[in-house]
Assembly symmetry: none
Homo-oligomer: 297 residues x 2
């Protein structure tokens, strides 16, 4: 049974009543599960995580986008986080028994429906992008809500669905597809942030490290440790164990030890099972051999 | 809805045509799902995993046992694994919405049917055992097929169902109920079976090892290796990584390396995630943080 994850971000992080209205269509539907939603007052934004059957998740999210359009007015919206729409961004992540292409198709279906039903212009981003310069969300959203009128004057910024005209209060929306991301932190038994920083540089893509790792240093003063904090942007290509063992290897250079690690938020089963497979040297192992896999079908 | 798992082991691991015949009744029936079957040439044995509605699974397995009786002749059977029947062993495992007592009752129903329909003597084992000395499968099966005539001369070994007389080609069968177990084998880079045997003894309960490990040595001549073959009978108390690391530790004594391992049949997700947690030193980790967990609720 295919499972998709969808993480729509809505531009409301303060008014809990409005937030409840927006997430209502994501509750109590068969085949759709609202996993969590985190409202940030400073950002004035709520990040919602929902998983389930791809078509049912898409239909439920379509409803939520409609409610966000009704209750959010970008003309009066203020927040720390950049945004250009009432529903600002909506990525689909293939979790199980579906390909990235399936997630891209889902993004396109939703995009077409959003533009037709709500007259909100839609940009496709990340893996669903139709042009290279639209892959990066930051580029797509540049100028934010306030810059949309100007953006649409440029024919290079015609939306992928809908007219080149912002919705009068809901702006625009970026819909896309991407790999699941794992937020993963590794603990070092040193208070020296410089060591964590040097190690982060060796493993992150931007400084010559692994292609699917973003990394930086963090201090945890109350525990007298530092962390290498990471986003693993494609765990099927850069595994958790590889990040862990490489950090251990680099830490040796500074006489520092890795004392543990943590996953922030949710983590796909496959990523953890790959770790078990590596350390146990499992032969002929696949997800089919996990009992729960078959119970979910 | 109650779900039972049943893992019949049939004494045929080489002739794929025969294996297909045996598993045929487990396919395409409503309420019965054939999850996996793994034939092992050395063992000359196939381990089948089927789940579904308890009564329907029991009926389908009864059919499969009948076919195994028709196509397997223990008089000419040779393999590394001990066995005393065409269908050698058939445990029921309660998975969902059923108790161990329900699984025991199911084992008894099947036992009675097998003895009446096929004239195969049946021993109840593990949780379904009628006497303490029959709990342990190894004791029940001691002497194997070749020793059955002698075994039945001893009135203490009268079967639980059927006459005290082996079936002329299908031998006897052990039917039982148990908690989920993990069949787990660890590879050693030595052809010396004595080393595998000594290591097996250090880790298994019966010789002073871990409480929930049963273990023995196996030769894999075509790969020029040996294995410590194990049943982890309660992975929540004796974890896979503990078995793996302890075998590694003991192997050092003989200058032997652990080169990998394998899971035979199915493995609960929790057991593998525990392994990942151990090796990555994961803090504050629980099954709730696995995406798929929330899907199964």
């Amino acid at each position: 049974m295919a499972i998709v994850q969808c993480v729509p971000n809505f531009s409301e992080g303060r008014d809990l009543e409005k937030i409840e209205k927006i997430v209502t269509p994501l509750r109590g539907k068969q085949g759709v599960k609202l996993l969590n939603y985190e409202a940030d007052e400073n950002y004035n934004r709520v990040v919602v995580t929902v998983i389930g059957d791809p078509q049912k998740v898409k239909d439920a999210v379509l409803e939520a986008i409609g409610i966000a359009k009704d209750v959010i007015d970008l003309n009066t919206h203020k927040g720390q986080h950049s945004r250009f729409g009432a529903t600002d961004v909506c990525p689909f992540i293939p979790i199980k028994d579906m390909t990235m292409q399936d997630a891209i198709n889902l993004a396109k279906e939703l995009g077409e429906e959003v533009s037709q039903k709500y007259e909100i212009p839609v940009f496709l981003y990340e893996e669903a992008a139709t042009r290279p310069e639209r892959k990066n969300l930051a580029t797509v959203r540049k100028g934010e809500y306030e810059g949309l009128d100007k953006k649409f004057e440029d024919e290079n910024w015609a939306p992928d669905f809908g007219k080149a005209k912002k919705h009068p209060n809901a702006g625009a929306i970026a819909i896309g597809a991407r790999s699941p991301l794992i937020a993963y932190n590794i603990n070092l038994d040193t208070e020296n942030l410089d060591v964590a920083s040097k190690i982060a540089k060796t493993i992150r893509f931007s400084s010559g490290g692994y292609r699917y790792i973003k990394a930086g240093p963090v201090e945890i003063p109350e525990r007298k440790i530092t962390q290498v904090t990471m986003n693993l942007t494609d765990y099927t290509k850069t595994s958790m164990y590889r990040a862990f063992e490489t950090v251990k290897m680099e830490a040796k250079r500074y006489g520092v030890n890795v004392t543990g690690s943590e996953v922030v938020g949710l983590c796909p089963m496959e990523a953890l099972i790959d770790v078990a497979g590596y350390y146990l040297g499992l032969e002929n192992f696949s997800l089919d051999k996990v009992l729960e896999t078959s119970l979910m079908e």
